[in-house]
Symmetry: C2
Subunit: 342 residues, 2 copies
DNA sequence: TTGTACGCGTTATCAT
DNA sequence: ATGATAACGCGTACAA
């Protein structure tokens, strides 16, 4: 027994005005006398009227909605999402809510179900891309978005010739800071964990910072201390075991992300090495779990709150046709037990 | 220089059929000859046509979208969301994607910005409520939803007389299992951490299970070993300190959620007590961080993957007017270092 | 199997 | 400051 949903016409009748006036009154849109505004508001409350957003969107060609597309390599994620992105997601949600935008989210599992039609089908006014995934795989699709002038921003490093607008942490500086910290504690044989192929430009930037800090300290960059690794705990675990067993002693590990660092700590423990006494460990991200590991993880914090704000803010600028401003976010070193802290 | 978006009329012209036929062909909806279907599909691809979902939704009175409303007590959450809910969020996203539904998400920060109009304004076909928040505060609003026959499901325990459909873990059994495990390791003075007021019925159920397991083991329920605590790490930390300092020795802690248990472990360490030798600890949830704590946290796992599926599945049933089936999910004990494991 | 005609509920435009 | 009217783009009876 469904009651008919009231329309603006019903409100109009009840308030004794025309339907178009109702529309204006509710939107605070144009000049409406205080008197009628109140009568309309009251009538609306009485009938429990809510604007039909589909009609509104259709007419106004605006959705007041953003879409967040999270993509991760299926290889990397065993049905679990990297905590860092969950944190980003949380801050993006809040940022868009503060701006009065709804947020639609979608996890892209394979590159096939690429449902970036969100904009084309007028489901959203703009798109936010987020992921540690393989960027290369998405470039052509993203270019297509660019061609049809869809508004979108991507979380990540600026890659030469990449279409669209990238916003991200200053990965190079962050990594420099991490490695400087290790060097400052007297570490000399510092392993790097992470995939630095062109598929993972963020990790590549962090590797660049790693090299930079080593050189600046006059330390050699030892190739054997680099271990390719996708972004997960298990992978980090395996990678460090292989590295230790094959290439001998290390006194520190810099993980390109916290999950890798955590995996490494587990591997080190398995080999009877103490953290930080024998091997100091620094990660990158500062995920929620980082303070709770054993020992607590020293890491480079990415300011997800600021990141969410910046992504949303800039996306809205794009939607309005205004120019984008800042695109880089400062990181900060968080010292905990795994290197230099308690 | 924006190009005009193609409409179904444009496709119709290009394919040499009527607009209504285009609509049918694209929806695979009615009888359409293979021939015309192909011509239409080709024309659509050529013009890069996408259905305007607002028009579609308006016309069909269906959105193919679900809304996820996450609410947490502002007291409890200092701008950080409980990892458990992030995990739920992730699984719900996937579940609804699998069903071909878009997901709209919203974090309810205060009870004021109660934007549960998602259904009333035809933004979504159904709602999912999720939260460790104060249930009582939401009951009346939820009742109103029930009155206007909005389709919605709530993650949580079944509370007598509560409107709507609740779906959740079997908190009592889970807690029983947790405490049995502690008892089985010879623990006798087992503290309980968590708010068991009517505001937190889930925690209350877990307390019920705690009491049940103690009684079944012939152990006394010692009131002094209960500590009220909201769901956060800091609160757990403080609570255990107070409890130890005031009420003397304990040999185990059962935290109503993992964050509380983790906080407790930190507090115990601060007082020089070893986990699990001096005090064994068991949590509830099995959040992402649980395996990484020191020692790894023994806990009751809530099957978030199954939960997400069940919530979405049942919500869709409600939307279709079909009856709801299962509403309880089994938990499982995960033994790790903090009690009985390595 | 396909075409015709209308309506979904709102916002925009042009009057007054 | 308000009213009348025309779109917005698609789905669906109904007719053919």
């Amino acid at each position: 027994m469904r009651v008919k949903r009231p329309t603006s016409f019903d409100i109009a009748e009840l308030a004794g005005v025309s339907q178009s006036t109702v529309s204006r009154a509710l939107r605070n849109d144009a000049m409406v006398s205080e008197d009628t505004r109140l009568r309309v508001a009251q009538a609306a409350r009485l009938l429990n009227y809510k604007v039909d957003v589909n009609a509104r969107n259709l007419r106004s060609q605006k959705t007041n909605t953003l879409a967040l597309l999270l993509y991760e390599d299926p290889v990397t994620s065993q049905s679990l999402i990297n905590p860092f992105f969950l944190s980003m997601l949380s801050s993006i949600t809040k940022a868009s809510a503060r701006r009065g935008y709804d947020l639609l989210i979608s996890f892209q599992q394979s590159s096939d179900d690429w449902s970036a039609d969100y904009a084309a089908s007028k489901r959203a006014d703009g798109l936010i891309f987020l992921g540690y995934g393989d960027y290369l795989r998405y470039v052509d699709k993203i270019s297509r978005l660019d061609e049809v002038s869809t508004a979108f921003v991507t979380w990540g490093p600026v890659v030469a010739g990449q279409p669209g607008h990238f916003i991200g942490s200053d990965n190079v500086r962050g990594a420099v800071e991490a490695v400087r910290h290790l060097v400052g504690r007297g570490r000399k044989r510092i392993a790097f964990l992470g995939d630095i192929s062109e598929h993972c430009p963020e990790f590549r930037d962090r590797y660049t910072g790693y090299v930079q800090a080593l050189e600046e300290a006059g330390l050699p960059v030892i190739e054997a201390l680099y271990a390719d690794a996708a972004a997960s705990e298990e992978v980090g675990h395996q990678a460090i075991l292989n590295l230790i067993d094959r290439d001998g002693p290390i006194d520190a590990v810099f993980g390109a992300c916290d999950l890798l660092a955590i995996g490494a700590m587990n591997g080190l423990r398995e080999r009877g090495l103490r953290v930080p006494e024998d091997v100091a460990v620094v990660g990158f991200d500062d995920i929620v779990a980082a303070p709770f590991t054993a020992p607590p993880l020293t890491t480079i914090r990415q300011d997800t709150a600021a990141a969410g704000e910046l992504l949303v803010e800039n996306l809205l600028r794009l939607i309005d046709g205004r120019p984008i401003e800042t695109t880089q976010i400062a990181t900060s070193l968080v010292v905990r037990g795994s290197c230099g802290g308690v």
